[in-house]
Amino acid sequence: MPLLILLLFILIPWSARASADALESYVIQQVSEGVYYHQGVHQEADSENLGAIANVGFIIGDECVAVIDSGGSFREGELLHAAIRAKTELPICYVINTHVHPDHILGNAAFKNDKPKFIGHEKSPAAMISRQQHYAKQFSEILGSAYQGAEFIEADILVTTDAPLRLDLGNRPIILTAYTTAHTDHDLTVYDVKTSTLWTGDLLFVERVPALDGSINGWIDALDKLIELNAAMIIPGHGTAFAREESVGWQKLLNYLTTIREEIRFIINDMGTIEEAIASVGKQEAEKWKLFEDYHRRNVTAAFVELEWE
């Protein structure tokens, strides 16, 4: 590591010394052999945290590297890129986006020079195009200079819900699975066969309150399937990676979603209103989650208008 820092001081212009400090503090952890992630902070994206609020990382095979989610800003993408280069000189052949929320894709452009294949769910291009104008406006303001350089890059390879996609990084098969509407309408998971490590994208939130942007019923179904996979190591979209034995990570989210679904259904069946639901549902979950106040009522709103049509 000291050699790397020395190198950086030579390569990076004097004015960019702050960047080297940022890289030093950009911590990459090994989850399994050859599988690394940076854990996002449990905050709202801002210029201080560079939008690095989601878990992002990479898998190193014998021939090349797959990036899984690229970061919440162009700057985070650069930091992730440098972190990969600190581990390996192998080419970066894939950048996989588990979905197109900004905290997972705004680093994509930092990998463009490596000419990787960008991969997403079959519905991700539609989701990206319809949101990008709004994201660009909002996140260039929120992130300031860290945003500069971000681009919305169309996926080269799309994964369909009817057939998982198998890729090989060189003696390292990974399986990409696309889901029907759950956290969003375009969620993708990545499974590293060799170490039985599952990247859930935002189909799993640990510690940080989930954000529902798809279907509460679909999400609960998807969670049931993911738990059945019985992966040895799990890297959630937000929160700490954990081993199979600590299955509480799954249960907490499942409890949250099933609890609010049950309470909303009760209100709907009693001809109650959306305002009543927003004011009362899921209060007991408040202390269990970070950023609860920022997302919970929105989740109830989204779930209510879905469950109204059951």
């Binding site: 969003t184 679909g218 001809m271 959306i274 927003i278 049509w309």
Partner: protein, 264 residues
């Protein structure tokens, strides 16, 4: 002015208005321009808190689904009643968001709907009385991105149930005030949402009108635009004085009509 003329002429008005709006940024100037566009030189009484209550979250949780309600503090009587409630969301692409035509037969005004909000904005409810006078209450709402948000979280599921309707209410008792909700499954496409397949904007396709009648008498006619959320919903209080049919007829910008009724 014909019932729909305010909507059909709106686009042209907005275009001309946008030129004048460029010169100024202040919120009051924005409203001054909107007022002139929609109400001309008519006087509007501001802060009409003695007549009207507009409820909306200070910070909207989901900008595409912001529940709002308007209640009158005075009863609807044959002599004096609120004839229309105009909802204006200043900074939405089409600020004139809804016009509720209300009958004195409602007995009281307690109506709710769900709207999209595109950015931090003032929102106004303007009551037009049967004598033609105008009375306004307003609120500031923090929300952003509701109008250009993707059409629904699951467009396919939404289109599959297009036109499906519900009238949701508890068992009604004759002579007692009852809450009812009419909701229609409709994408309410704003024309601001991009479609990957066609590489173009999804043409606007939205609910234009919702007529609610009880026992052959009109209670509420909502003229609506693209500010109304997907799956447009109107919740209201009324007091059935006899048995009859509660009927809702919805028509959209593609001239499709959907209806549902319920015996009370």
């Amino acid at each position: 002015m014909g019932r729909f003329s305010i909507f059909t002429s709106m686009v042209a008005m907005l275009i001309s208005f946008s030129f004048t709006a460029h010169a100024t940024t202040a919120e009051q100037d924005l409203w001054a321009g909107l007022k002139q566009t929609y109400f001309g030189d008519r006087e509007i009484r501001d802060n009409a808190d003695d007549l009207l209550v507009l409820e909306a979250p200070t910070r909207a949780e989901d900008a595409a689904i912001v529940p709002i309600s308007v209640k009158s503090l005075q009863p609807q009587t044959a002599d004096r009643y609120i004839k229309n409630i105009h909802i204006i969301i200043d900074k939405n692409p089409m600020p004139y968001s809804a016009n509720f035509h209300l009958s004195p037969a409602l007995g009281e005004v307690d109506i709710a709907t769900r709207v999209r909000i595109d950015q931090y904005t003032d929102m106004r409810a303007i009551a037009e009385m049967n004598d033609g006078s105008l009375h306004m209450v307003s609120r500031f709402v923090k929300a952003s991105g509701g109008c250009s948000a993707p059409a629904g979280k699951d467009m396919e599921a939404a289109m599959a149930r297009l036109g499906k309707m519900q009238i949701r209410m508890r068992e009604a008792n004759i002579g007692e005030t009852t809450q009812a909700q009419v909701v229609v499954s409709h994408p309410n496409n704003s024309g601001l949402q991009f479609d990957q397949k066609t590489r173009g904007y999804i043409p606007p396709h939205y609910v234009k009108e919702m007529v609610i009648e009880f026992a052959g008498e009109n209670l509420i006619t909502l003229e609506a635009g693209i500010s109304i959320s997907e799956d447009p919903s109107v919740r209201f209080n009324f007091t059935p004085q006899k048995h009859g049919v509660l009927k809702a007829v919805v028509s959209d910008s593609k001239e499709m009509t959907y209806s549902l009724d319920k015996q009370i």
